[in-house]
């Protein structure tokens, strides 16, 4: 079973993502802030990471750079309600594999996760 790390501070959104990804057959580890997310990355191995951008303690960009310094191959999808060009470019420059702007379709997310895991 593929392991997915979900880092999202909004409780309800995190649980919804968890529900959807579990339904798709993944083992999901939820984290409520950037610090927890970075700890999870340091202590475990994941097949994919899904992170929000605006997070308490450490933001999503810090999570991206941490993940890429630990494991370059692990794909990461950034979820954010900021669609500004420079922010998107920053995320990709740090190594993000995909960027989705909120509101996003859970079905679309599901397909993107599948595509990245099958690469």
């Amino acid at each position: 079973m593929k392991k997915v790390l979900v880092i999202e501070d909004e409780d309800l959104v995190r649980k919804s993502l968890e529900f959807r990804l579990k339904k798709d057959g993944y083992q999901v580890t939820p984290c409520a802030d950037g610090r927890q997310g970075i700890q999870a990355i340091e202590n475990g191995t994941f097949d994919l990471v899904l992170t929000d951008l605006m997070l308490p303690y450490n933001n999503g960009l810090e999570v991206v750079s941490k993940l890429k310094s630990v494991s370059k191959e692990t794909p990461i999808i950034v979820l954010s309600n900021i669609g500004l060009e420079h922010v998107v470019l920053d995320a990709f420059n740090l190594g993000a594999d995909d960027y989705m702007t909120k509101p996003f379709s859970p079905n679309e997310l599901s397909v993107r996760v599948k595509r990245l895991l099958n690469k």
Binding site: E10, L12, V13, K15, S16, F19, R20, K23, N81, K102, P103, F104, S105, P106, N107, E108
Partner: protein, 402 residues
């Protein structure tokens, strides 16, 4: 939790006990004893005793209220947590399915059953409805596509839109503003008329929410409020309006020059900014006319926009207005001339470079630099000028490191 309740009860009983005992005390005897012991007058002791009793009672009342409020708050939190878990199960279960799965009769009937169960079990209390509404709004903000449609349908099925519509009539402007936000987020068409009627409300926040919602929801002239709003648009208000304008289709945008003749100067300024933001070049003649406006701020904004549009045709009018303009406006016009001017302007700019006002000289120098070789040659010629500051300005502007 139970232990704490007993402590409060004990505390209240003890207080009552003390009051009861106090009624049987020989106060006169105590006061006399105190006045002889403390060498003080009886009246002073009486006043002090009364004050002491008042403050003790006040503190007691305050403490009791505080404890009751805390306990109530704690109970509410526990209740909210409990109901939240139930709502999470309902919402995630209903909306996060595959699109194909959602088309099946089985899914539809199971959704109907869950909704009915919820209506009976959890939606009788108004507070429960409020929590569910908050949850749906939050999810709707984050999810799009089928999930958003399902959430909207659920919101309508549970008649939560009616609750929000009712809140639009609340005497509290905060409740109204929240209801407007919610109805706009879930695009409840029925509410459009009521929301639009609040776009001129005297309360600034309510007015802003109504205007933002109207722009997002209304297809028929959503910006019409700009022609009627007599209230000053603060910077904060303008930022919020421009944020929502940024999310709508360009085809729905009107020509903002339509409101250049508004008597509300803040609306004219806002419309000039939007004209620039959305590159509405067809408004250049109207912008040029605004250079004759009474408000210096509007003249400055118009000049800046004409410069950004590189509107060469506005050059004669900019020069005409320049003569009688104030120094800040003169600076803005010079900046605009640098961007939209031609080499014919070089003698005029050279004249401005060598006059007394240093800030004007700086802008004239920058404009000369923007005009290309001819302008740069003028700057080079003036590097050794004996006039105060001019030489330094020219050297600064010619410095390739800047």
């Amino acid at each position: 939790m139970i232990k704490r309740k007993y402590i409060y009860l004990l505390f209240i009983l003890l207080t009552w006990g003390n009051v009861a005992v106090a009624q049987n005390i020989n106060w006169e005897g105590i006061i006399k004893l105190l006045s002889t012991q403390l060498n003080s007058t009886e009246i002073l002791i009486r006043v002090c005793t009364v004050l002491l009793i008042i403050f003790s009672l006040f503190f007691l009342g305050f403490f009791t209220t505080l404890m009751i409020a805390r306990s109530k708050h704690r109970n509410e939190d526990a209740y909210r947590k409990d109901i939240k878990e139930k709502y999470e199960l309902l919402l995630t279960g209903i909306i996060f399915n595959d699109e194909d799965e959602m088309q099946t009769d089985e899914w539809k009937s199971s959704k109907k059953r869950v909704v009915e169960h919820f209506k009976k079990r959890y939606l009788r209390k108004r507070i429960n409805k409020k929590y569910l509404r908050d949850h749906i709004v939050l999810l709707h903000k984050n999810f799009a596509g089928t999930a958003a449609d399902v959430l909207r349908n659920l919101y309508i099925d549970l008649k939560l839109d009616k609750e929000a519509m009712r809140e639009l009539n609340s005497p509290d402007w905060g409740t109204q503003a929240n209801a407007i936000k919610e109805l706009a987020q879930l695009n409840i068409i029925e509410a459009k008329k009521k929301i639009k009627s609040r776009t001129f409300h005297e309360n600034q926040i309510l007015r802003l929410e109504a205007q933002v919602a109207t722009i997002a929801m209304e297809n028929d002239d959503p910006f019409s409020f700009l022609g009627k709003d007599k209230n000053h648009l603060t910077e904060w208000h303008q930022i919020n309006l421009s944020k929502i304008i940024d999310t709508i289709d360009r085809e729905r945008l009107p020509l903002f020059s339509r409101w250049f003749n508004s008597k509300n100067n803040s609306i004219v300024e806002f419309c000039i900014k939007m004209t620039l933001q959305y590159d509405q070049f067809e408004s250049i003649p109207d912008l040029t006319e605004l250079l004759n406006h009474k408000s210096q701020n509007i003249v400055g904004e118009a000049a800046r926009t004409l410069g950004e549009f590189a509107a060469t045709e506005s050059q004669p009018m900019l020069l005409k207005v320049y003569r009688n303009a104030t120094i800040p406006i003169k600076r803005k016009i010079l900046t605009a001339l640098g961007k939209c001017g031609t080499h014919e302007l070089v003698p005029f700019l050279q004249q401005q470079l060598v006059q007394n006002e240093i800030s004007i000289a700086m802008e004239a120098g920058k404009a000369l630099r923007l005009l290309g070789d001819e302008g740069i040659q003028v700057l080079k010629d003036q590097t050794n000028s004996m006039l105060y500051g001019v030489g330094d300005i020219c050297k600064h502007l010619l410095d390739e490191r800047i």
